[in-house]
């Protein structure tokens, strides 16, 4: 168990920057998930912590000891790879016990530990098999076992579930959560799957273009995305965005002169271009004449069993609304309303979140 401190970490491959100044502190026993689109530098960041990638500049410290120049094996980190990277010529027990063998642990003690880990992961009956003779889920478990056996200070996961089918993914997700609760090791988990990120994380780190966009609990990030990127990236179906301009009173006016949130005032200079964001699930269905209502034309309804997704347009913009299955889809012309508490507003210029005056007063 350990704390990790990363400061102004950079990685440049030749001339392409992959990680551009990351600062992050991770507490002992915390489960941190790094989420971001493909190519944003998640793996690179993780591999620099592991020691598999040279650090261009910046510092990685584990338990306040700078480990920049330490070999991966000396950092006390264990890693689960996306493709598992199980040694194909070794049996399951040899795979799990290899780190102990390398460390010179006596055979009897090694076997004892291997058995304990295998029992914990339900692998007892596969110990003599080769990786090629295992299913994807079993391989995943062996990879976990190999990481666990040395009781590492830090667990690093690089998209360990992305090669599994949906059902197995859920099962392994719960298993990882359970193991983390039992072992309490500091863990860093890289993924581009939102569901994994939301369910596993004590703290979520959203990355984009080699930089951290936002750090916080999954709830904080989902409810108060700090930037346009985070708001757009998190949530399914994704957040709806309506371009608007701030008028002289500080209110947002969108195309056709509609004011979707007539009572909110932002401290922005008049004429500032903004985007109003609202999650599909937060939209309320109202009559067309309601104050602040945006007329909604349905184009397609998707029935997901648990809810209906209404895809359509508002003032010429694509918009999605979510209705619980119990609620009937109106068969007459209707409108959607953005509740004041569900409004997210971002400055077009830099994508930063701006809170309205009234709401800031409440908070």
């Amino acid at each position: 168990m350990a704390s990790i401190r990363i400061s102004s970490l950079h990685k440049v491959y030749g001339k392409t920057p992959a990680v551009r100044g990351v600062d992050l502190s991770i507490g002992t026993g915390e489960f941190v998930v790094i989420l971001g689109p493909s190519g944003c530098g998640k793996s690179t960041l993780l591999r620099m912590i592991a020691g598999l990638e040279d650090i261009t500049s910046g510092v990685v410290a584990i338990d306040d000891v700078i480990v920049n120049d330490l070999e991966p094996g000396d950092r006390g980190c264990a890693m689960v790879f996306q493709n598992y990277a199980l040694y194909p010529h070794m049996s399951v027990s040899e795979n799990i016990g290899y780190s102990l063998k390398v460390a010179g642990v006596a055979r009897a003690e090694r076997d004892e530990k291997i058995r304990r880990v295998a029992t914990l992961l339900g692998l007892d009956t596969f110990l003599d098999r080769r990786p090629a003779q295992l299913s994807g889920g079993q391989r995943q478990r062996v990879a976990m076992g190999r990481a666990m056996i040395r009781s590492p200070r830090v667990f690093l996961f690089d998209e360990p579930l992305s090669n599994l089918d949906a059902k197995l993914r859920l099962q392994m997700r719960l298993e990882i959560k359970r193991l983390h609760r039992e072992l309490g090791s500091t863990s860093i988990f890289v993924t581009h799957d939102q569901l994994e990120a939301m369910t596993l994380a004590d703290r979520l780190v959203v990355m984009n273009g080699g930089k951290i966009e936002q750090v916080g609990t999954p709830q904080e990030i989902y409810r108060r995305p700090a930037s346009l990127f985070v708001a757009d990236f998190l949530g399914s179906p994704p957040m709806n965005f309506i371009p608007a301009v701030i008028d002289d009173e500080g209110k947002a006016v969108c195309a056709d002169g509609l004011r979707p949130c007539p009572d909110l005032i932002w401290d922005l200079e008049p004429g500032a271009e903004v985007r109003i964001g609202v999650r599909p699930g937060d939209l309320q269905i109202v009559g067309r004449s309601a104050r602040g209502a945006l007329p909604f034309e349905v184009e397609m309804v998707e029935d997901l069993g648990t809810e209906n997704h209404l895809h359509g347009t508002t003032t010429g913009l694509r918009m999605t609304a979510v209705l619980a299955t119990g609620e009937a889809v109106p068969d007459h012309p209707f409108a959607v309303l953005i509740p004041e508490s569900a409004v997210h507003l971002f400055r077009e210029r830099d994508g930063a979140r701006i809170d309205p005056r009234s709401v800031s007063r409440i908070h």
């Binding site: 592991a50 020691g51 598999l52 070999e71 991966p72 094996g73 000396d74 980190c77 264990a78 890693m79 790879f81 493709n83 990277a85 199980l86 040694y87 194909p88 010529h89 290899y98 780190s99 390398v102 460390a103 090629a132 190999r146 040395r150």
Partner: protein, 312 residues
Amino acid sequence: MSETRAVKLPTGGIRALPALPRLNLAPWLYLAPALITIVVWTYLPLIEAFQLSFYQWNMLPTSPKRFVGLANYAHLLTLPEMHAALANTAIYILGLFPMSVIIPLAVAIFTQDLKGPMRNVYRTLIFVPMIIAPVVAAIVWRWLLNEDHGLVNVALDTLGLHRIGFLQDPNFALATLIWITGWKLIGFSTLLFSAANASINPSYVEAARMDGASRCQIIRDIRLPLLSPTILLLSMMTVLFGAQWSFTYINVLTGGGPLKSTTNIFYLLWDYGFGSLSVGWSSAAGMIAFAGFTMIAFFCLRLMKRCSVYDN
């Protein structure tokens, strides 16, 4: 499945002909060039050699063949020349091992991290011998190793050492031929090992580094086991073909001498056949070599099947 479908396709036209009811000709047609070549150039001569090994004949079409039964074999097996040739064959093979397997393996593993211009320099150096024609190589080496004016002996001289008759001294000739054969092989083996080594999934090495393995342990526990199919293949090729590969150099440089010290089984049977025109002896020697190497090949194949690891 896909194979049968692939070969059946073009039979559509043929099947329509009433003269060829159900016989599926197409696959045999495709195989024919290879089959005919193998039969004409390998199996027919083999059978013929087998027959000839029981006769005494001097290759003149007009002279009679005389059946002698197993006399050729009996004679050969008691001939000291044959014993020496068999022993030399073994020495050729063993002597080639370091240069066809061990050194290339080491070179491939220790140069894998070379980058940029260094990599090209090393590659050129190691691969040049491979592309030189064997006879040219033999002649270049004869000049280099010449007892009076050869560069190597001049160098020995300036170092204050004795001149060595590399190709004239029976104590050195065999080693010299092994060196030349091996020198020609190193490039090929290194190429194969480098390719196999480069195709090892880097994440195995990364996983081992995370497990705390040192560079040496990674080579011992990860690289070598994963390279074992290539190691076995090259070992097998050395055992089966090593003595044959040296034929050109024996022929050009020593003619089996001095004092038969560089003769091996392949040179011997060639010498019997086309030197002294005793086809019976030559064929019998060929059959002995064939039987021996067939057994070795069989053994090697079984070993390969047992030891190889399938990476997926």
